[in-house]
Symmetry: C2
Subunit: 126 residues, 2 copies
């Protein structure tokens, strides 16, 4: 039940089912990759915007929590993004602006999620 | 511009921007992971259905072609899946049935894509 997904001709991602479903858990379940895609897309936006605003920061990460419907085909119906970052209190407003710009204007994956799912987000300042 | 996405607490996927956008191309662009998710989800369905139907096959792969809008936020607006497989001509109808069942009933990622995008698919018998 293992697939190797090759992106841009060179970057490989291993996809496999869990043991209970007949796989060997050698890689991720495929649907969860949509959540990686979401976090990565908005994460690159925010990094890029913070750099343009010359904001210094560290420990930037994004947690993604996805809830699915219970009937086939099982789809995400509620996803919560939690942006975590350490920066000076004087830069909190700029971080909020960067996240809002990504969510409202730039992040294509977030826009796609909103076509089928409730998408909430929050920021935790470390 | 690099992120490490950790799924199920252990499977890691590296996300990075291309060099032209300030990244180092150490991993995939994030949006393309949605296409890996799509191919992996329907691919696992088809594998599982072919095994249940006791169909022998080899060389199974899926090509995914994604087209995006040109304005921000850039979203996929047309995706084409090409299932490629080698099996006996007597099993061609079973392969078609497995793909149709995945696309019409089981594959949650395909259902999510249809919320924002035209999704076409075809089968190539090798």
């Amino acid at each position: 039940m293992q697939f190797i997904s090759t992106l841009y001709g060179k970057h490989e991602v291993i996809i496999d089912d869990d043991v209970a479903s007949g796989g060997k858990d050698s890689g991720t379940r495929p649907k969860a990759l949509m959540l990686s895609s979401l976090a990565g897309c908005t994460g690159l936006d925010v990094l890029s915007l913070l750099q343009k605003m010359r904001v210094k920061f560290s420990d930037f990460s994004i947690d993604v929590e996805g809830h699915q419907t219970t009937e086939h085909p099982k789809m995400y119906n509620h996803v919560i993004l939690t942006y975590k970052i350490k920066l000076a209190p004087s830069s909190h407003a700029k971080m909020k602006k960067a996240v809002d710009l990504s969510q409202e204007k730039y992040c294509g994956v977030s826009a796609m999620f909103r076509a089928f799912c409730k998408l909430d987000y929050k920021i935790e300042f470390l």
